[in-house]
């Protein structure tokens, strides 16, 4: 190597270094700049996996992004109630038949109208099992679609299915013409309030508000969904002003975020209920006295106050959270009563000389503060004389034991939610014979079956109340609390975190006063 070339390499390298460092010294964009331009940057904890809305069940990432580009027949508003979207009205014309009247203004962003034939085509696409779409199994009770006239479509179900409109709120409609010439996995074109500007797999999705949107106008004009997989990076991204909305961080970050007055931290009860599933088929938990004893032995309030920073309230002995239809506010939960727990245990034949030994498992890194909660529960169980053998398992092994080997330990920490917010969805997972259930209770099972199949709302409510009371008394689980959801956002952004995981830019706006102040 000659003197000249070696030197030029060194100088060149130094130049690159200096250039890289100085070019970086340009201030990054801040929330105030974005507020002026009606832009928002939302952090996603994991990458968007597909742009095909029928091929994903993940509300928090994929569907949240796609719900801005596509629209559904009906949608669930921020108040968790169903409201019109592509369908302006709907009614049940027969026990197994629903009629949807479409909004005549509904149009895809390429200008083609969204009419009844489009809806029928989408139902056919969903039901084509050869496509292996993830949403298909959510609609196993749907029989088919029939065009009545261009703006009216009938959906028929296999037997009565009262939850059809709920389920339809996450069925997004594609354009048949567009699908014929595009790949919906990597491109998107829908009838929603935003259109896709760019999609960088694994990195970001950028959206722009449609000028010709047929529904209610949106306030945010430009949206960036940025994938930020590390929770520490999400927190620092919000603190540095690069991100406007983050979710899913450690409870221990709450105090740090609260010290910054330009931020707003929100904790909400999600629709996901945390519990210890008890194995009522084999082992000591077959005895209802033992199941009740563990419910009395655990101080749920202490756990939510200390470990979860008071962000949620303990469950009053129910399998679903208050946001579900079928939640019963007359039911009273198990109070913390270690003495009663001890006496129930001795009634069941356990005592200091013959202590109850149980196995408990928890999947690692799956649930919010899951391992911490399990440690606390185990300690409290030990205080009433139960010897707990806790095992942390990877999620795959955990699920293998739970579902495939049918070898759930005596206790197992898990959380459950149902997308339609109908209690019978969660209840079904506890009915005798269900592959998720380790509890054979004919009374509970009959009540759930009656609730799901009945079309009479009062019969339905009564059956659900009976099932809920039965679950409270027979305690197939150790009732804990609604899993907390942690959100933080730039204080000037007006948006309320939703318990059902949806992160929709259409629900957001910049507060005008702050924006004026920023100018």
């Amino acid at each position: 190597m000659t003197e000249l070339s070696r030197r030029s390499v060194l100088i060149g390298g130094a130049f690159v270094l200096v250039a890289a460092l100085t070019s970086g010294c340009v201030s990054t964009q801040q929330p105030a700049d974005r507020a002026r331009a009606d832009q928002v940057v939302i952090a996603l904890a994991s990458a968007v996996t597909t742009l095909d809305p029928m091929n994903t069940n993940t509300t928090r990432t994929d569907l949240s992004v796609l719900s801005s580009i596509y629209s559904s027949l009906v949608e669930r508003g921020p108040d968790l109630r169903l409201r019109p979207s592509v369908a302006s009205t709907w009614e049940q014309v027969a026990p197994d038949r629903w009629r949807f009247h479409l909004n005549s203004a509904a149009r895809f962003s390429d200008g083609t109208p969204l009419d009844a034939s489009v809806v029928a085509w989408n139902v056919a696409r969903l039901q084509d099992t050869s496509k292996g779409l993830r949403q298909t199994s959510n609609f196993s009770q749907l029989a088919g679609a029939e065009v009545v006239d261009p703006l009216t479509v009938d959906l028929s179900t296999k037997g009565p299915w009262p939850a059809l409109p709920d389920a339809l709120s996450s069925l997004y409609l594609l354009s048949p013409d567009w699908v014929a010439s595009h790949n919906p996995v990597t491109a998107a074109m829908g009838s929603g309030p935003y259109e896709l500007v760019s999609y960088a797999p694994g990195a970001s999705v950028e959206l722009r508000a449609r000028p010709d949107y047929w529904g209610d106008a949106v306030s945010i004009r430009e949206v960036t969904f940025q994938t930020v997989p590390s929770s520490t990076s999400r927190v620092s991204g919000l603190l540095s002003g690069e991100l406007d909305v983050i979710s899913d961080f450690e409870p221990s970050d709450i105090d740090r975020l609260r010290t910054d007055r330009s931020l707003e931290v929100n904790q909400i009860d999600t629709t996901r209920m945390a519990m210890m599933n008890l194995n009522s088929i084999t082992g000591p938990m077959t005895d209802v006295r033992v199941r009740r004893a563990v419910n009395y032995a655990v101080d749920k309030k202490a756990i939510t106050d200390n470990l979860l920073k008071g962000s949620v309230s303990p469950s009053p002995g129910q399998l679903v959270t208050p946001l579900y239809s079928g939640y019963d506010d007359k039911i009273v939960g198990y109070p913390y009563d270690p003495d009663l727990a001890r006496s129930l245990l001795s009634e069941a034949g356990y005592g200091p000389t013959n202590p109850l030994r149980v196995d408990l498992s928890v999947p690692t890194g799956t649930y919010v503060a899951g391992e911490l909660v399990v440690q606390a529960v185990a300690q409290q169980l030990e205080q009433v004389g139960i010897e707990v053998n806790t095992r942390s398992l990877t999620y795959s092994v955990f699920m293998q034991n739970y579902l495939k080997e049918r070898a759930m330990p005596d206790l197992q920490y898990m959380t459950l939610a149902w997308p339609t917010l109908a209690a019978d969805g969660v209840f079904r997972l506890f009915t005798a014979g269900n592959s998720y259930s380790y509890w054979n209770d004919p009374q509970f099972t009959d009540a759930v079956n009656l609730a799901s199949s009945s079309n009479d709302d009062s019969v339905r409510q009564e059956a659900l109340a009976e099932a809920a009371q039965r679950a409270r008394d027979e305690a197939p689980v150790l009732f804990l609390f609604a899993q907390p959801g942690f959100y933080a956002q730039t204080a000037a952004l007006e948006w309320k975190a939703r318990p059902d995981d949806w992160l929709r830019p259409a629900d957001m706006s910049w507060s005008r006063s702050v924006e004026e102040g920023a100018k």
Binding site: E3, V16, G24, T28, G237, S396, Q400
Partner: protein
Amino acid sequence: MTTFILRRVGVTVLVVWGALSAVFLILRISGDPVLLMAPPGSGEEELAALRTALGYDRSLFVQYLSFFGDALRGHFPDSLQFQQPALSVVLERLPATFMLAGTALVLGTVCAALIAVATVRPRKNGVEREWPMSFVYLTQAVPNFYIGVLLVWIFGVLLGVLPTSGAGAPTSIVLPAITLAAGILPQLTRVFRTSLRAELGKPYTRTGTALGMGPRRVLGHAAYGALLPTVTVLGLEAGALLGGTVIVETVFSWPGVGQLAISALNNEDFPLVLADLTFLILVFVVINLVVDLSYGLLDPRVRHQG
């Protein structure tokens, strides 16, 4: 030379096969991927249908053979998360990783060379400059991810001058590249510096000085002599660089194959993990092959032995 190359390539193929077999077996014995993909409440028939559709109903040995058969033809099964051929998901992310690793490699090498030269060349008073080395020891002592978090805190949160996540802005690469470069800097600097010092003590450099060569020219010749051990370390550090991308890409949300590997593992996306690791293993092995072969170019003695 030809036997040398053939032997190296043969060993490389064996290494790739062994590494992939290990990955395949470890992943497959840890659980049934179908259970994680099916929506809650799925019945046994739905699970069985999904298992058949994805080929998980076959015996482990058949799955193993078909995996290698497909991999040899460049076919990988579809990623479970992305529902696309796993290899194309990996290839999509590859430019980002190459760009990051390449920048870090250049940055690390240039800094290592500058520091080594600056500390080896005696000053006018005859004493070597030692202070740049304290910087090197610091980067060696502090864990890589911590340097990353520290940089995020200083330049992102406190000063607010550099983006801390994503690859959207051209400046986004600065912090991850520095973090990654900090991982390879200490080894490179120390090896280059020690070899350079040894070369400067050899008779040929003294002869050069005696013949009237300027100190810079002498240093140039010594640096060339010090290249061989440094290139060996560079090959090894390329592996560290690839491994480092897994952490650095996660901390800085850089959309490359390292971050993809983590998310694939977290989501039990077996085909994607396999495709991703196949790629990382191949790149690592090929780099080492290139390093081995480059000895022949750098050192005529190696070339003539074979």
